[in-house]
């Protein structure tokens, strides 16, 4: 694996599932080739089998428009793009459950409370969380600040049937990391991902040492991060190939076995 990464070749001899991506343009960050075609071209270049993503319009603006775009991308690209639906706490008539009508590729919920100018413990999110828990759907949280990680962990401890993914692994501060690590150690359903903001060499090895390899999922945060950034970071890390294979996709396959 390391040799292929050093030669810039796709890692297409292993299963790679990216559990943390986005589609469409962002308000605050220059993005290009952000549609399904551009994303799949990048997956092919890197040897990534599939990506689960939410749309930036769903996170930043109109929940109907944004989630429709995500689901449309999943429908049109079966087996390559999977959709997270983003709940919106401001519209009582916006119902996330309607997207889970058997449409293939719609797999879970993405929560990004700070982008929506609220908090994860906003009661308006409860119906979406209860639905995810009842149907054992994964919930991916954007978390940077310690209070965000705390709130995501509290949700994970309340809704124990839903796999909960602490997006970015709390790597923006010591306190955030500690909360995420402790949660992984003390629960069965809480995971971290490799979309580590402000990452560095040694970060993945360190988090695996803290929470165990089975609790770490591969995520890129594409298109905010180029896919090669996170693929290279893991493929060229000091972890064993068996650990890398688990993180790249086998853990996600196990976690989402009835969904993907």
């Amino acid at each position: 694996m390391m040799q292929r990464a050093l030669e810039g070749l796709p890692l297409d001899d292993i299963f790679i599932f990216d559990i943390h991506g986005h589609i469409e343009q962002s308000r605050v960050i220059h993005t290009a080739e952000y549609d399904a075609k551009g994303i799949i071209a990048k997956l092919d270049r890197m040897g990534v089998n599939a990506i689960a993503l939410s749309s930036n319009p769903a996170l930043q603006s109109d929940p109907w428009l944004g989630n429709d775009l995500t689901v449309q991308a999943a429908k049109e690209n079966p087996g390559r793009i999977y959709a997270y639906v983003v709940p919106n706490p401001y519209y009582e008539d916006f119902d996330v459950t309607k997207y889970f009508d058997g449409t293939p590729g719609v797999i879970g919920i993405k929560m990004h409370a700070c982008e929506q100018m609220t908090a994860l413990n906003n009661p308006a999110y409860i119906p979406a969380l209860e639905f995810a828990n009842k149907n054992k759907l994964p919930i991916l949280f954007h978390t940077w600040e310690p209070f965000e990680v705390e709130q995501a962990v509290a949700i994970g401890k309340t809704y124990k049937d839903a796999p909960v993914i602490i997006g970015h692994s709390g790597f923006t501060s010591f306190a955030s990391k500690q909360i995420a690590i402790e949660a992984c150690k003390s629960t069965e359903n809480i995971f971290v991902d490799t979309a580590i903001s402000s990452t560095y060499d040694g970060a993945i090895e360190w988090i695996v040492g803290q929470v165990g390899v089975d609790r770490v999922l591969f995520g890129t945060d594409l298109p905010f991060y180029d896919c090669s950034h996170n693929v290279g970071k893991l493929a060229l890390s000091k972890l064993s190939d068996s650990d890398k294979i688990k993180i790249f996709g086998e853990n996600a396959k196990k976690l989402l076995k009835d969904i993907i």
């Binding site: 050093l6 990391k177 560095y200």
Partner: protein, 250 residues
């Protein structure tokens, strides 16, 4: 295989190394070997976190024995009330110690890069074609980077650690100023390297790892997997910095 020379690496003991990150010179060399980086231009943490003057001998000690792989970069500052060195002294000392690049930290060290403050230092460095490195965040806004390039048209500036939120700020500066280069470390958004080559040109980007606060494994992968020609990859990976270093005339 692509030959990588890292143009953005900080070595030395720092106040708060992050968990699992490289600390010793051996740690850095192990990472360089593992991810395929032949050489690195290194500045010292003490020069950033504390004193430019104290950082210089610390850098000498840290790279001693590894000079074939670790090239020295000094952290410098304007000579306010003889706090540092005169421009003339700086150039003489750089020549004596085989140092060909410098780095400023105007925000962390609280001074101005404007001509009334850093002018004599930057003018002297640019007369000798010494590339001047400065982190994006240290300039406190893209307008200040624009002013920097316009105020010192003979100088060559390398903007480091641009991060993922800066394209809309930086792209117009690259169109307006031909004396600015971009460090690739943390220039991480989807297809950013290829788009930079398309709109600006590969000759204006320098490979940087951003170690120890960023990942050399990730940084090399950004270049290796970029949808650009092999010639463009080699320019970014080492060709451009080699050219800039060859042009230094101390």
């Amino acid at each position: 295989m692509i030959k990588f020379i890292d143009a953005n690496c900080m070595i030395g003991n720092r106040m708060a190394p992050r968990e699992g990150s490289p600390v010793t010179t051996g740690d850095f060399l192990e990472i360089m070997d593992r991810v395929g980086i032949e050489q690195a231009i290194c500045y010292h943490s003490v020069g950033v976190e504390n004193s430019c003057l104290l950082g210089i001998p610390e850098l000498e000690k840290t790279v001693k024995g590894y000079e074939d792989r670790l090239m020295k970069q000094w952290v410098v500052q304007p000579n306010i009330w003889d706090e540092f060195m005169t421009p003339h002294m700086l150039l003489a000392e750089m020549k004596k110690h085989n140092v060909k690049t410098v780095r400023f930290f105007p925000f962390s060290k609280q001074y101005s890069m404007a001509p009334y403050s850093a002018g004599s230092m930057i003018d002297a460095l640019s007369e000798c074609n010494v590339p001047i490195f400065v982190n994006y965040a240290e300039m406190q806004g893209a307008a200040n980077i624009y002013d920097l390039c316009k105020n010192y048209p003979k100088a060559k500036f390398v903007i480091c650690d641009p991060g993922y939120r800066t394209v809309r700020f930086l792209a117009p500066i690259f169109e307006s100023c031909d004396n600015i280069y971009l460090d690739s470390s943390n220039f991480i958004i989807h297809n950013a390297v290829a788009r930079f080559c398309q709109y600006v040109g590969a000759e204006r980007m320098l490979f940087g790892s951003g170690m120890p606060n960023a990942s050399a494994a990730a940084a090399t992968s950004l270049i290796r997997y970029a949808d650009i020609s092999d010639e463009e990859k080699q320019l970014i990976a080492s060709g451009n910095i080699v050219r800039l270093l060859e042009e230094v005339a101390l």
